[in-house]
Symmetry: C2
């Protein structure tokens, strides 16, 4: 349930390369703020995400998400909290290809590839294929997960206030905070 400091830094650096390739302008300060999430699964290459938060105010948030080739952002949803009916989120692809899954008619031959023995952690299979310039509006509380295609992906993520630590995950092993160890 952990990632080493070295793995963390390498993933940050690699994510930055993707962002720059996709034309994202990242300030010097932001370069150190790219967060690497392995969701406590210790399998970053297959399940995780690299996230740069531009801002997160009391009403709005914007992030850039980098997924490495075939990396999966695990199935989750944004619950209602206090006065908030749940985070509304719009994904807009800048670079690469993204396979997004939401509730609805399941794809017969989905593009996504999930790791072995993980079937129970992916319950929605209605497929939306997003290419550069495509966007998708995720209503509050919608269960969703997504995977990059073979070249990885860079995604603009627009939303109402993000409270990531409150997100619900289908996989009971998920821990939203990433534990980084020294070696």
């Amino acid at each position: 349930m952990m990632i080493t400091k070295k793995e963390y830094r390498e993933a940050q650096k690699r994510a930055l390369e993707y962002m720059e390739k996709a034309g994202v302008i990242v300030s010097e300060k932001e370069k150190d703020n790219i967060s690497v999430a392995d969701f406590g699964l210790s399998d970053l290459e297959r399940q995780g995400g690299q996230i740069l938060t531009f801002f997160n105010t009391e009403r709005l948030s914007a992030k850039v998400i980098v997924l490495f080739p075939w990396q999966i952002l695990p199935e989750h949803w944004h619950p209602a909290l206090d006065k908030d009916i749940g985070k509304e989120e719009i994904l807009r692809v800048r670079w690469g290809e993204v396979y997004l899954y939401v509730p609805g008619e399941p794809a017969l031959q989905p593009k996504a590839k999930i790791p072995p023995r993980e079937e129970e952690n992916f319950t929605v299979w209605h497929e939306v294929i997003l290419k550069p310039g495509d966007q998708y509006i995720l209503k509050p509380q919608t269960v969703h997960w997504f995977q990059a295609g073979r070249g990885g992906a860079v995604i603009d993520d627009y939303s109402s206030t993000a409270r990531d630590l409150q997100d619900g995950f289908t996989n009971p092993r998920v821990v939203r905070e990433t534990n980084v160890i020294a070696e």
Copy 2:
């Protein structure tokens, strides 16, 4: 108080060139949806803006704003409306340089250049210089205006729901809707 169809199309095309230079991925459908606003001032090169709305939901909106060299987006604010305390807006520069003016200590030697006999239409002069990767959070109801530098600018505009037609403008001659005439 108008712009010809030809001027409109030319401004759309020019704005698209700026967006592409700045790495904005614009879908084919969106290319025709770039709106050109002259704010009824019939002086587009000096006062106006070219705006592509990615989406505008009941909670969130995202746009890309292109300003031509030294083009000014006239002074305005986003008022409270019904349950909304007013639009919150974050400007993040992708390309070029932007001189943003908000309430506060006025700049002694502002970078901006306003047209002659327009002094009364620009009342806030606290200067924020924004370069690529810089962003600024505009709280609801904040009076503001901004101008591109000599190379023009491309700006990511993140906000709560946009109700542009309800915006307040300092210049009483401003009409938010652009009238396009055939010739």
